[in-house]
């Protein structure tokens, strides 16, 4: 038996490795976007790909998001599997016409004849001190568009496994990369990257009995921290990492809430019309008789994303999460 040499990897590196392995495994996989070639992307996720696979496989495009996604549609129509990068969440907006009118509904329009296996990578969320337009949580727009899968990793291993699955998927996947986790580290064996994760399965990141925190992406580490802090207050919190917003894993989420009887949904995106509303409704529809309290939401405020010096007041933090846990009608138990 040989000992396995574990090495640290960041989420950005894991994503890059997933792109590389997908490109090596499938010659139809093409990476394209702004600064993805020579520079290796502003977050260095595509570092080295142009060198290894050539500029036709990893292409610096003109600066035009609608053009990037629109040409990706044509490339996919001809049998390629484009992986496009939107440089930041808010800079994906020019591509919405292509996304909503074509990418999301081509399978449906053509009665299944012409699905579009396009992966759209979008760095999203705040907490990096970014100035205006660099910190949006745009997942609710994507979730509200039938035909798109919406996936977001919270760990280094999932970044690899889910991106590989997204690229392999025959449906378009909006792959949301939590910016502030790009530099988060984990150790892995570079000779044997983590498993390819199926899209659509949530995982329990931490088991607990008192209540369930339902979350995803950048808020997962915050919820785990909150769960640790909650021990001092006598709560044993379970944390569910959704990993995929569409499709939504009702089974894992409901099973957890039925066990704990209480739930709080946590995300950075605004609460009003945000993902938490859908999630809370689904949980209530499925677990009503198991619930000891209404499902609560801890979300970003319903404001345009604030300037960096104020963002800590906007982002859901440990205290705000625990305040919500405190409001889960514990009086009824005692």
């Amino acid at each position: 038996m040989t000992t396995v040499a574990l090495k640290p990897a960041t989420m950005a590196q894991a994503l890059g490795r997933a792109l590389r392995d997908s490109m090596a495994a499938d010659p139809t996989v093409h990476v394209m976007g702004e600064d993805v070639g020579t520079l290796g992307g502003v977050f260095r996720v595509t570092d080295g790909l142009a060198k290894e696979f050539g500029e036709d496989r990893c292409t610096d495009t003109p600066l035009a998001e609608a053009g990037i996604l629109g040409t990706a549609v044509g490339m996919a129509m001809y049998g390629l599997r484009p992986v496009v990068e939107m440089q930041f969440d808010a800079f994906a907006y020019p591509a919405f016409e292509q996304l909503i009118s074509h990418v999301a509904r081509m399978r449906n329009r053509t009665r299944g004849a012409m699905p579009l296996p396009i992966t759209i990578r979008v760095p999203y969320g705040g907490g990096i001190g970014g100035v205006e337009h660099h910190s949006d949580s745009s997942e609710a727009y994507y979730m509200a568009t039938p035909g798109l899968h919406v996936v977001t990793p919270a760990t280094v291993a999932d970044a690899y496994g889910l991106l590989r699955a997204a690229i392999a998927s025959d449906d378009p996947v909006v792959f949301l990369e939590p910016k502030r986790l790009y530099w988060s580290k984990d150790s892995w064996n570079p000779d044997e990257p983590p498993a390819v994760e199926p899209i659509g399965r949530a995982v329990v990141r931490r088991s607990g009995r008192s209540a369930t925190l339902i979350t995803y992406g950048p808020s997962v580490p915050v919820c785990l921290e909150a769960a640790e802090a909650a021990r001092a207050e006598g709560w044993d919190l379970e944390v569910v990492d959704l990993r995929s917003l569409v499709p939504f894993d009702d089974e894992t989420v409901s099973a957890s809430v039925r066990r704990t009887g209480r739930a709080v949904v946590v995300h950075e995106s605004g609460g009003f019309g945000g993902p938490g509303g859908e999630i809370a409704a689904r949980v209530t529809e499925r677990c009503f008789h198991y619930l000891e309290a209404p499902v609560l939401r801890v979300a970003g405020f319903d404001i345009p994303y604030p300037p960096p010096m104020l963002e800590r007041h906007h982002l859901p933090g440990v205290d705000r999460i625990l305040d919500a846990v405190g409001r889960l009608q514990w009086e009824a138990d005692s």
């Binding site: 520079l39 610096d60 207050e233 709560w235 205290d319 405190g326 409001r327 009086e331």
Partner: protein
């Protein structure tokens, strides 16, 4: 009568749509960027203007180095420097009348400052205490615009509105070479030409969009040539020649003001610094190229012209530098003070009247801040359920 029956009388004539609507020749830019400094045209320029441009270039360079230094001291979140592009920034500011409007991109804080905006207000966005640190209407400077090229249709709309109202106002919109690839660039130029709006577009072609060189951005003969397709004149100018940029912009603005419609100006310049302080330019370009451009420095070009012609002596140079130092010292001192922020500002100005939901959230944050001030605390009713 069928066509066959009338055949004998039938005389084909080309449909009128076949005639070009506009003669493209006068719209075409010069083959080479227009220059003033070091040419005979320089003698025609008012020496007072040249000296003014010079003083502003020196201030502008100092502003750029000071702002970059502030990023290292953690006083700015990020700074996209316009070092090397000062001639464009300064000329754009000086060429406008007070009543005119400037539409800057995110790199153009210097243009705003040269127009008279307090540098601290211009840098608020990049310090991170608020997005737009000034009242756009007060200064006739639109908010610094980060989503590339999206400010261009705004400039067209504003200019159009001013004309509808009978006001003698011109809008000058700035955009980078990369920004010309965006759909909004196309739509703005098309609207401007169709409406004959009094607007001028200044493209600062500084060679790169972050890491992407112009050759990957466009296959056009020049960016100025794009004007022809919209039916407006395109002008190509040496973007490091402040006198030339000022003259070309001045002519385009006068043309627009007189009802002649929009112009697209491409100023060929170079981004001497990295994209921002967070960028590593060695990944995509060599020092040799940067050095070549340092040899075509906007300040040196103008200084050379002025000293050669005896329009600027050592005393005047020293005065310009001292003035720039005073500006930098003042900026440094004021940026070294922590801005006073009120977290409650998160909820200000989202709507004219806050929604009840926002009022609830405001109450929540206030309670959280009070609790935080009281120190560590429990989060639920004491002892409940634990």
């Amino acid at each position: 009568m069928t066509v066959m029956e009338q055949r004998g009388a039938y005389r084909p004539t080309p449909p009128p749509a076949w005639q070009p609507r506009t003669d493209p020749a006068p719209l075409l830019p010069d083959a080479l960027p227009y220059r003033v400094l070091g040419t005979e045209a320089a003698a025609q320029v008012d020496p007072g203007l040249l000296r003014r441009l010079y003083a502003e270039l020196v201030r502008g360079r100092r502003y750029n180095t000071q702002a970059t230094a502030l990023t290292k001291q953690g006083r700015l979140a990020v700074y996209p420097s316009s070092t090397g592009q000062e001639a464009c920034e300064v000329a754009a500011a000086l060429v406008l009348e007070d009543r005119d409007w400037l539409f800057p991109s995110y790199r153009d804080t210097l243009a705003a400052v040269a127009r008279g905006l307090d540098p601290v207000q211009a840098l608020t966005l990049l310090r991170g205490d608020w997005h737009t640190g000034y009242d756009p209407r007060e200064h006739r400077i639109a908010p610094l615009c980060t989503p590339l090229a999206t400010q261009l249709p705004h400039a067209v709309g504003l200019a159009h509105a001013a004309r509808l109202k009978g006001d003698d106002v011109v809008a000058l919109a700035l955009v980078g070479d990369g920004g010309t690839s965006e759909g909004d660039f196309h739509e703005a130029l098309n609207f401007a030409a169709v409406w004959q709006a009094p607007v001028v577009f200044l493209v600062q072609n500084n060679g790169f969009a972050i890491s992407v060189p112009l050759a990957k951005q466009t296959a056009a003969p020049s960016l100025a040539h794009k004007a022809v397709g919209y039916g407006m004149p395109g002008r190509l100018v040496d973007g490091n020649d402040a006198a030339a940029v000022h003259q070309v912009l001045g002519e385009a603005i006068a043309h627009a003001r007189a009802g002649g419609g929009p112009t697209l100006v491409e100023a060929v310049t170079y981004r001497i610094d990295a994209h921002t302080n967070a960028d590593d330019a060695t990944r995509y370009r060599g020092d040799a190229e940067v050095e070549t451009w340092r040899g075509h420095d906007p300040i040196a070009l103008l200084e050379h012209e002025l000293t050669e012609r005896g329009l600027l002596d050592d005393e005047a140079i020293r005065a310009a530098r001292e003035d720039a130092e005073t500006m930098a010292a003042d900026l440094r001192e004021r940026m070294n003070q922590d801005p006073v922020l009120d977290p409650m500002d998160l909820f200000a100005h989202v709507y004219a009247q806050p929604t009840t939901q926002l009022l609830e959230q405001e109450t929540q944050l206030r309670a959280e801040l009070d609790a935080e001030a009281d120190g560590p605390h429990h989060h639920g009713p004491e002892g409940a359920g634990r």
